[in-house]
Subunit: 381 residues, 2 copies
């Protein structure tokens, strides 16, 4: 396996944004074809658009690719009009993250076999864009220089039970040419599942655990090597698709339509990260939130009096900590009045109303399950 | 003062339904011109319609009169199409209950100077219609026989702090011709204001207190005598209006437009009941609720799973004790989803949405105050 120099490799740095989420937790605003990362919640911008803006200082737009679903592709293209049309990659069907990573990497490898790429979720919030860029650049440089899989680990700020964790070992000593951003790297010792609260508290105290944010950086060569060892079917698919993309690009769509549905449904964490022995953790120096629920989202919107967030025409009496989000078109909005309401999320769309207590926001998924079971509600999904 | 026999008097029994409430507590369903008693919440019937049905077995429709406001009169007439048009009495302006009682009594007195009448609120719920009819009939018969003011007292079932109370003395021994319904009567000792919780508990335990339900029965002669002694201006007005109604009915409207606004704003409780020494309490043997809030209303609507009342297309996950009421027209209704919501009232109308925690339902009035202060919301009142 050859690794180029940092200088030459930076021409071959790529970012692959994973934009294929199902959009359940933000129902009724999010729908199957308009999941969280496509919602224009942030001054009219979506998390996907913010993700592109966030990586653009590190990697030019020509080398930012997005992997999405058939249903979401039209909206993705519309939101990312400044990306080359060919940079929106459409999965024929959903096959979990390992297949998506394999496809994205193959298409990058077809463009540049020396590529170093970051696979990043498109639906997270990071406010400190500059710190993020610094760590990402260092991670790309390290992955260009050494045959390692880099993952950005988030130092926990609370005993969260909703994330996977990574246990880190000793800090790595950098090579002679130090990385410009000064990012700290550790060898990863283990990937661990979502913990109990007690376990999460131990993790937080020990200082040896990081949240797994699903952000991975590797060279094409290193990824291929990892797949060859741990997921040979994916490895063969990657080689085949890269070859097709390079030599007969017009056939790629048909090949994928045929082969992609045959791949196993498996996450990249389980398929590769938990098995690989060359994983390195870059310490995130930036804030991070995967905005996993309406409650999480409310924390990022500007609150007014009594901690209420009103993205609506709302009137409140003795109410605090609420989020009211009216997504109906301007002419059809009506005032929303709250009396004695605490910590409640209210969402109004053209065709549905949701009320959820903030402490129960993760159960919106159960609600969507329930709606899926009833044919009357198919139009709401 | 002459009192006829029960037999002759029953041809002159009248009921006056007081239907002039302001309609604040059931906002956004109730509005200034569509208060609680006009809302078709009870299988499409309103409390006013139920009130008429409740008294109709005791007093024929020709002798059921309704006193209402200018704004509500058209809806009252529409809902009570089976009442003679002249039986809907319109107050020129609101002047509290003593003026309304005086007006209603004068118009009844003009029809029949020997009349015995019941003044009843039109916005209460009574399920046991038969028991109510029995007590009402006995009260009318007693008021026909003796110069007493009868009020129906509700034996308290809880230490309510939202009602006025009446302290009762010894049971009255009936005269030789016993009343057919066997209703128990007491001499009233005192009318007392809404008590503290501790005081209300004492009242409940003592067995000597009744809730003041605002239901009064008297003969025209007895009422005139009471007004003459305690409210001479009202007494004069009653005599004048009765005379006008009898001799120059076409002039009545102009006379009222001129004189009614000049009357003092005073409640019949304060003006007469608390001062009179001839008040008798009839023990109610029926259930009674003045449905003072959304929370009270929810108790009378049929609940489904987990105590939720859904007068709407609603889907619930881990939610209990809620009321969802969708009053929008059929074509514009949308499903309402609840996740982790407890004891919350949700009301949707064409032009507003209300969320109120059941424990805070009395604060809907504060909300209406707030809306009144903002010109933008005038259309919502």
């Amino acid at each position: 396996m050859t690794q180029g120099t940092a200088a030459s490799q930076s021409d071959c740095f790529y970012v692959l944004l994973m934009a294929g989420g199902r959009g359940e937790r933000f129902w009724p605003l999010s729908r199957r074809d308009t999941p969280k990362h496509l919602l224009p919640l942030w001054n009219g911008r979506s998390l996907l658009q913010l993700a592109v803006e966030r990586v653009a200082p590190v990697v030019p737009r020509e080398r930012i690719l997005v992997i999405t679903t058939v249903g979401q592709a039209p909206k993705v293209r519309r939101q990312l009009g400044d990306l080359p049309a060919g940079n929106v990659i459409v999965e024929p069907v959903g096959r979990d993250t390992c297949a998506a990573v394999t496809l994205g990497a193959a298409l990058v490898g077809a463009r540049c076999p020396d590529a170093v790429m970051a696979m990043l979720p498109a639906d997270h919030i990071i406010h400190d864009v500059q710190a993020f860029g610094t760590v990402l650049r260092d991670a790309l440089l390290l992955a260009a220089r050494e045959p390692v899989i880099v993952t950005l680990g988030i130092p926990p700020t609370e005993p969260a039970t909703g994330y996977g964790y990574i246990r880190v070992g000793e800090p790595r000593t950098s090579g002679p040419a130090d990385l410009p951003g000064g990012t700290r790297f550790y060898n990863a010792e283990a990937f661990v599942e979502k913990p109990s609260l007690d376990r999460a508290r131990e993790y937080l105290q020990s200082g040896r655990y990081r949240w797994n944010a699903g952000m991975f950086i590797w060279s094409y060569a290193t990824l291929l090597e990892g797949l060859r060892e741990h997921q040979p079917r994916m490895h063969e698919a990657a080689l085949r698709w890269a070859e097709t993309a390079r030599t007969r690009p017009s056939r790629l769509r048909a090949v994928l339509a045929h082969e992609y549905p045959e791949l196993p449904r498996i996450s990249i964490d389980y398929a590769l990260m938990e098995k690989a022995r060359n994983v390195v953790v870059a310490d995130a120096t930036f804030d991070w939130d995967d905005v996993g629920s309406w409650t999480a989202l409310a924390r990022h919107l500007p609150a007014g009096e009594n901690g209420n967030v009103f993205e609506a025409e709302a009137v409140a009496v003795d109410s605090s900590g609420n989020l009211v989000y009216d997504a109906r078109s301007r002419g059809t909005r009506t005032p929303v009045a709250l009396v004695g309401m605490q910590d409640t999320v209210v969402v109004l769309t053209r065709d549905a109303v949701l009320l959820v207590h903030k402490s129960q926001a993760q159960k919106v998924r159960e609600l969507v399950r329930k709606l899926e079971e009833d044919p009357r509600y198919r139009k709401l999904l």
